[in-house]
Amino acid sequence: MNAFGYQFAPLWTDWLVYFLVFSGIGFFLYARRHEHLARPWRQVVRRPLAMSAALVLLVYIAIGLADSIHLQKQRVIANSDAVIFSSEKISLLDIVLTTLRVQEEKTYSAPFAIQSYAKETIELPDGGIVREFPRLVYGGIHLDQASDKTADIVAKTIRAIAESVAIFVLLIVILNFFLARYYQNSFGRQLNLLKLGDADLPWRSLLLMGFVLTLVGLVLIRLAPYYHVLGTDKVGKDVLYLSLKSIRTGLVIGSLTTLFVLPFALSLGIMAGYFRGRVDDVIQYLYTTLSSIPGVLLIAASVLMIDVYIQNNAEQFATIADRADARLLFLCLILGITGWVGLCRLLRGEALKLREIDYIQASQAFGVSHTRILSRHILPNVMHIILITLVLDFSGLVLAEAVLSYIGVGVDPSMISWGNMINGARLEMAREPVVWWSLVAAFIFMFLLVLCANLFADSVRDAFDPRAY
């Protein structure tokens, strides 16, 4: 594949992300046709809070996906027809954010600053040396005078607000038009219903959340090319760019891990519960042993081992991105291996219960094969447990990444992640005046994702497992 001077060059985790997306779509289609799965989903969809959270999650996922399409740029070489691609892999997101990516300052600068944060020794033309705050190379470079800054920012923000209001109004009109046709209401009456929030779906909340997201997005789009909206880090990288790039890392850890959890937990858990006896003993032994090892230590040991593997097979990882990617993949694998026990235990319990149910006993009596019973009867009936566990685990995994990075067994240090940002920010907090923006940026982005994931997961759990309410 070679278009627009780019070549499609996915990383390993990219393939798995694509796989995950397709499985997700597949599951959606499957759930639509099966009432026992579709009904709780309809319940989730009706909750305003859950749907607002889902909208935010969608934005995150879209950014993460854009960051999961990696490309290599064609390099033009003078007097040569050979097609050579840069060995550096950049993602679609990188291309979209090119301005943010390339506008690197020398070192720290505060949000919206136009001057460097640290004084620098500057040689004057006459040979003298002064120490002062130099102007940034990119931030606010379009301004002639520092005093124009506030006015400029306000103007750009007002413009963004105006634009988002326009989009919001347009959106309401279009949505209302279709809703009115669907429910065969008049436009005005439908608008009133929309305002009251009286509909099958929480359109009102969705619209409001959509407005907020558009507003934030547009403000960033208007301001980010001119200023470092969230400042820059120690080597002058734009913190907004780093925060956006971290999204993929967080999502991959949260979701790919479950991909590795599933095969273990599902097969072993159901088998243990269904077959009982020896099989159960062996599987129980396996997971009791694994779960009795303190998790952090197991992860630390395994990550160190992976470093050895990467080291010994350095030639397989041509670029930094490849290496970091391999480590990320392994980290997910390890988290999966240490994390399957909980789900396995739940599934075993459920399978134990299910096998005593009449129709399964009957199937057994009729001599239906075990594989068939497992796949036709047991598996569909534990789906909800799997789903609940996966959504609940997601946020925990995103949070775990930060702690693991602190201990030094997280993602590759060259990988952009919230964990690495927080870890770096620890040192910055000791500076005076304090460099707070990296920490705050990581905090906001991470908090939003985890909060929305938690809220969404809560709704999913309530819908699928109504015992708690």
């Binding site: 004084k119 120690k234 770096g424 005076e432």
Partner: protein
């Protein structure tokens, strides 16, 4: 029944609040709340310092790294020391009567003069005479059952299980005693360097010099084979190169001429260890309780280690049997004005007790220094701008915030070099052909160490033009003409355009290998991980990008990295060297061929081999400091600059800050036994601490008010609900 329970709980809660509030109010009258030390300590003559990692070895035969030496140097007294005030560094006697002068002999036993050619010298002999009357610190190892007799009836040399049960730390031994320092103790320690179980880091180096040391190690090894656990009395085995002459004199015989040997005599490796102590610690029951020479050193120095809890705190206290040493009477010009001679001639040490607290994180460390809980501090990169200004003349001065606090700044260029290395064995970047040489040169130009120093070291450092840092003989204020141009009398790095031109010449135009058409990939090997490293690694990549070369970071754990370096499989790496002693030999040997890292496991990490350089090195090594030596060194550096096995990196400057109450501090990079010179004005310290650490209480009160504001409506709602549920309890309980 349950309602009283809840009420009871609320009552307990409110009482608790009252108690806390009362505690807060009464505490206000006390000392600062955030004082990490006991408030009773405040009027004692104590210096507060810290350590970042628990020292691994305090056994003088093993301790090497700076965090270990900061303790051992105060406790042990080798024969020599560096003068505290004079620069360049000068050796002076410590336990010895005088600085020993080597006597050289040829193969026939004739005495040669000092300038004799190294090839002729068959042995060099150092005779060291120590001062009589020096006493060891009190220690249970010296304690005898019958103090008056001189027989070997030591109280604690054969501990019974009953005795052991009562011992937890060294201080639990009831009796202690001291003894006079004798020459045999020095001999005993040198023998310990060869002990196979001690693994002295300098053993490998010393067998090259000290006569018979290797054989001695083999003899001990054989003895150990018969009984692995038994204690060997080293007095029973003679070491040919080291012998006792009389009670206060011993003699060391070297196999060659090695003028640098005298510097080693100022290190704790050559401190005395009494046999009694070795015998005492050899008891297996003590090892189980972590009571070993590694954790409880025994010396004659001004301080002794009384508390050793490497998990938290280590305390040095004044050695009561210390003989007393006078503060130096003279120093460099300017020392007098700097107040460094106020205590001239007074008896040291001045401080009674030094408390070292474990401080692993930079943030708490710096903040505690600002709060006055540490007396001195380094300047971390992250706190630099808060602390230091670089003034018009390029000099560092303190910011107003620091001077207001009475903090002062000391700066010095460290006797260290941090360099980037090319592995000369590498097929791409290494080798001595023109192509590789040009490639290395292009990289050397592109790698902007000035920027590195400015970003990561806050300008604390000077870019290296060669291996030798300022302050060491042989350093010259010239430029490396392959990387720099002299512009207006100042060195200026050559332009990127020039680097690109070199690349074209080398056949790597625009980062593409012209012979294969493939882009050139280079590898940077590092053991660095973590956030701090990430910034540096990013910087490295950025530098190579300037000349369109993609740099791949191969980061790994420390072990693999070391292994790779030993196998000669790294490509580009960063390395550093701190001088063992202030002599150019200690830097130039980093480029000496027979000292290469691959296969030979030496310190020449770049595996650089150049016959001419090696030859010059051998002659330089034995020359006394003078014009002849300087010219040889200049030639050597010119050769190395042309071949370019190193990116010459930089020599860091060390900045340290101290509070006004700490006196007599002068940066001394090679001297470590500096605590005895320092003095603390604890009255000033106390006043400052009280002034800086007033607790800010209003947020606490705010929180209490907020809590009450939250609980009250909840309580009212509770009452209402209770009533409601009593009326229609069946309607509420339904699931939502």
């Amino acid at each position: 029944m349950a309602q009283p329970a809840l009420k009871g709980f609320l009552r307990v809660l409110s009482t608790l609040c009252c108690v806390i509030a009362a505690g807060l109010i009464s505490a206000c009258e006390m000392q600062q709340w955030n004082n990490p030390y006991l408030s009773a300590e405040s009027d004692e003559n104590i210096l507060y310092s810290s350590f970042a990692a628990r020292p691994k070895h305090l056994d003088p035969a093993q301790s090497y790294s700076s965090n270990e030496v900061q303790f051992t140097a105060q406790i042990y007294e080798p024969p020599l020391q560096y003068h505290y005030l004079k620069r360049p560094y000068q050796l002076e006697p410590l336990a010895a009567e005088s600085v020993p002068v080597a006597v050289y002999y040829d193969a026939d036993g004739n005495v040669l003069d000092d300038n004799a050619d190294a090839g002729l010298v068959a042995k060099s002999v150092y005779e060291i005479k120590i001062k009589p009357g020096i006493q060891y610190q009190p220690h249970p190892a010296f304690s005898r059952t019958n103090p008056d007799s001189n027989d070997d009836t030591f109280s604690y040399h054969a501990l019974s299980q009953d005795q052991l049960d009562e011992i937890d730390v060294l201080g639990d031994f009831a009796q202690t005693d001291s003894r006079e320092l004798i020459a045999a103790d020095y001999v005993y320690q040198i023998k310990r360097l060869a002990h196979p179980k001690i693994h002295s880091p300098i053993f490998g180096l010393m067998i090259e010099y000290i006569d018979g040391l290797l054989d001695y190690s083999k003899v001990l090894g054989k003895q150990l084979e018969s009984d692995e656990k038994a204690w060997i009395d080293l007095r029973e085995h003679a070491l040919s190169g080291v012998e006792v002459v009389d009670r206060y004199t011993y003699r060391i015989t070297l196999k060659t001429k090695y003028p640098q040997f005298k510097y080693w005599l100022a290190m704790p490796f050559f401190a005395p260890i009494p046999w009694e102590v070795d015998r005492f610690y050899a008891q297996p029951g003590l090892t189980k309780k972590n009571i070993t020479l590694d954790w409880y050193p025994v010396g004659t120095g001004p301080y002794m280690l009384t508390v050793n809890n490497p998990n938290r705190q280590m305390i040095l206290e004044r050695n009561p049997s210390f003989r007393g040493e006078a503060y130096p009477n003279e120093g460099e010009p300017g020392d007098e004005a700097a107040g460094l001679l106020v205590d001239a001639g007074k008896t040291m040490p001045f401080i009674d007790k030094v408390v070292f607290s474990l401080e692993k994180e930079q943030i708490p460390y710096w903040n505690k220094f600002l709060q006055g809980y540490y007396d001195s501090s380094g300047v971390g990169s992250d706190s630099f701008d808060q602390a230091v200004n670089i003034s018009g003349g390029g000099d560092a001065t303190l910011t107003a915030e620091m001077t207001d606090r009475g903090i002062s700044l000391l700066t010095t260029v460290a006797t260290s070099t941090y360099y980037g290395g090319f592995n000369m064995l590498d097929p791409v970047i290494g080798g001595y052909g023109e192509r590789a040489e040009l490639l290395r040169r292009a990289i050397a130009i592109a790698l902007d160490y000035e920027e590195f120093i400015s970003i990561f070291n806050n300008g604390r450092g000077i870019p290296g033009q060669g291996p030798i840092p300022p302050g060491i003989f042989g350093y010259e204020e010239g430029i490396n003409p392959y990387v720099y141009d002299m512009v207006d009398g100042r060195p200026q790095r050559k332009s990127i355009a020039e680097a690109r031109a070199l690349l074209v010449k080398a056949g790597y135009a625009d980062g593409i290998d012209q012979s294969t058409g493939e882009p050139l990939l280079l590898y940077y090997d590092t053991a660095a991980v973590g956030p701090a490293a990430k910034a540096t690694l990013d910087w490295w990549r950025k530098q190579f990008k300037k000349i369109n070369i993609q740099l791949v970071i191969r980061s790994t754990d420390y072990n693999r990295f070391q292994q790779k370096m030993r196998d000669g499989k790294a490509q580009i790496f960063s390395w550093g060297w701190n001088a063992d002693y202030p002599d150019p030999e200690n830097f130039l040997f980093l480029l000496y061929g027979p000292n290469k890292k691959a296969q030979l496991n030496g310190e020449n990490a770049a595996n650089y081999v150049n016959k001419e350089f090696d030859h010059l090195y051998e002659s330089m090594k034995n020359l006394p400091n003078g014009p002849e030596r300087a010219s040889v060194i200049k030639k050597m550096i010119d050769i190395a600059r042309k071949d370019g096995p190193w990116l010459w990196g930089f020599h860091p400057k060390v900045f340290s800050l101290q509070h006004e109450w700490l006196k007599n501090t002068k940066p001394a990079d090679v001297a470590n036994n500096t605590l005895k010179y320092k003095r603390v004005d604890q009255v000033a310290r106390d006043a400052r601490r009280a002034e800086w650490n007033q607790p800010v209480l209003w947020p606490l009160y705010l929180i209490i008010v907020a809590l009450v504001a939250l609980i009250t409506p909840a309580f009212i709602a509770y009452k209402q609900r209770q009533r409601a549920s009593a009326i229609s309890n069946s309607t509420i309980g339904k699931p939502a």
